[in-house]
């Protein structure tokens, strides 16, 4: 009988060589993935484009099954949920009146101040055809791509708030980096303190707040909104609420990928800088604004096509 024992058998040189070569290729792929991400992203986009019809077909019965099991489970909690919803509804009616009143007041103030109205951000509606939940990556696949004007960096939202950003865009599909993903870094503002922070995903359901600018206190329940800093995301998108205090604050997100079905991809563009006056027709204006015009002129006209902050992929 052979004696069982835990021995480290040393392979001969020729036997070890293939493993060594493969290990070098694997590490090389990891390095290349960092330096030449476009190649791998293109391969991913092509793969998701190719498999999109199958993914849509696979997801439909599963969504139906989840909806059915959710309905069955809901029967047992319907009474308590109904009572809770009645209470919330009454409170929301009160807040609706407050919001309408404030909206009207804001409109009047804007008219009085002759303020520039907020531009409406155009959007593309897409369906979620897949999601990936792995230890080092949290993504979602959408059935819209470059053929639908979807571009890398665009914000993805549902009716509750910000979900993430596009990081790979194929012809008919695109991959979304979720706010919970390790690579996600989004500039946010915390209300009511107006303190600015970076929302950093760490693959947990509640991303971290890396406090950045400002002095105000951070408390549980504070609202977190996008800032629009860097020109990548539109400002004031609802993101979530703060949980925890101070430096250990995290954010419970309003929108989660698990319950997202149809989403909007926002085609946000930074407003165009003012066009400098034509020197031939406006000579006096040129001389009067010469001190400030270089800063404006330094912004290239197509700067919106190359946002300063790209997803770190």
């Amino acid at each position: 009988m052979v004696r069982a024992g835990w021995k480290w058998t040393r392979g001969r040189g020729t036997k070890q060589l293939p493993i060594l070569i493969c290990a070098v290729i694997a590490v090389g792929a990891a390095v290349a993935g960092r330096t030449h991400a476009v190649f791998f992203d293109s391969a991913r986009a092509a793969l998701s484009d190719w498999s999109a019809p199958a993914l849509s077909g696979l997801r439909a019965p599963l969504t139906a099954m989840q909806s059915w099991t959710g309905s069955v489970a809901g029967i047992f909690t319907v009474y308590s949920e109904n009572a809770q919803l009645r209470q919330e509804n009454a409170e929301l009616h009160k807040w609706q009146q407050v919001a309408l009143s404030l909206e009207d007041r804001l409109r009047r103030y804007q008219q009085l101040l002759n303020a520039v109205p907020d531009e409406k951000t155009p959007f593309i509606t897409a369906r979620v055809i897949g999601e990936s939940s792995r230890p080092f990556v949290r993504t979602m696949i959408l059935n819209a791509g470059t053929a639908n004007q979807v571009r890398k960096g665009q914000a993805v939202v549902d009716q509750r708030g910000l979900l993430g950003r596009i990081y790979v865009s194929g012809e008919n599909t695109s991959w979304v980096i979720l706010l919970t993903d390790l690579n996600s870094r989004v500039p946010v503002v915390i209300e009511p303190s107006h303190r600015r922070a970076i929302l950093a995903g760490d693959n947990t359901p509640a991303p971290q707040l890396e406090l950045d600018v400002g002095e105000g206190p951070i408390r549980s329940g504070d609202r977190v909104l996008s800032t629009g800093d860097g020109g990548l995301l539109p400002p004031d998108l609802p993101v979530g609420v703060v949980t925890g205090n101070g430096e250990n604050a995290r954010v419970v997100l309003f929108a989660t990928a698990a319950s997202a079905d149809a989403v909007n991809i926002l085609d946000y563009r930074v407003p165009e800088p003012p066009v400098p006056a034509d020197p031939a027709t406006a000579v006096p204006a040129k001389t009067s604004s010469s001190a400030t015009s270089p800063a404006v002129a330094a912004v290239p006209p197509d700067s919106r096509e190359s946002p300063p902050e790209e997803p770190d992929r």
């Binding site: 052979v2 069982a4 024992g5 835990w6 021995k7 480290w8 058998t9 392979g11 293939p18 493993i19 070569i21 493969c22 290990a23 290729i25 694997a26 590490v27 090389g28 792929a29 990891a30 390095v31 290349a32 993935g33 960092r34 791998f40 391969a43 991913r44 793969l47 993914l55 696979l58 997801r59 599963l62 989840q66 055809i129 897949g130 999601e131 990936s132 939940s133 792995r134 230890p135 080092f136 990556v137 949290r138 993504t139 696949i141 991959w175 390790l182 690579n183 760490d202 693959n203 947990t204 989660t256 990928a257 698990a258 319950s259």
Partner: protein, 181 residues
């Protein structure tokens, strides 16, 4: 009745033999596809398991000639491509597990039953550690270990369920290769 010529027989047998020899890699790639189906049965609460490692473990032990390191590298790279993560991550992890299997083959072949599951757990832990090391190096920080532990546990729980499938595929390899000559 005409007698079949040996040349024609060899020509007809070659695809069957080749397919038989490719079964381990094809099964592993199929498991990569299943694990990376972009559908979450748990609403994103639990990470997807590394099912392909079960196939690598099975054939690296039972038929090492049909699961060479190049095949393990390919399986790992496909896993990385489909999972959306950085390339090289699971390629390195699977290779780390493969090295352990390769070095301890004699010992691992002697264990059965619960010991088999414990040994697979050891290989999965080594593979996860390899992937974790590469991920931490890529992201230049120590990453949270919780999701990876969860993936390890889920993979180990599912491993006994995969064994009959792997046995079935292995029997077909024998049948195809023998029938071919």
């Amino acid at each position: 009745m005409t007698e079949r010529s040996p040349a024609l027989f060899l020509l007809l047998a070659a695809p069957s033999r080749l397919f038989g020899r490719l079964i381990p890699i094809l099964v592993a790639l199929l498991l990569v596809g299943v694990a990376n189906l972009p559908i979450s049965f748990t609403g994103g609460l639990l990470p997807a398991p590394a099912l392909a490692l079960a196939a690598i473990w099975y054939w690296a032990l039972a038929r090492p000639s049909l699961m060479p390191p190049y095949a393990v590298l390919l399986i790992g790279l496909v896993e990385d491509l489909l999972s959306g993560g950085p390339p090289g991550l699971w390629a390195t992890g699977f290779l780390a597990g493969y090295v352990l299997i390769d070095r301890q083959r004699k010992t691992l072949l002697e264990v059965n039953g619960a010991g088999n599951v414990v040994s697979f757990t050891g290989v999965m832990v080594v593979a996860a550690a390899g992937a974790y090391a590469v991920a931490s190096a890529i992201y230049l920080r120590l990453l949270p270990i919780g999701p990876l532990l969860l993936e390890t546990i889920i993979t180990v729980i599912l491993y006994p369920l995969l064994q009959p499938v792997l046995h079935f595929a292995d029997r077909n390899i024998t049948r195809l290769v023998r029938s071919a000559g």
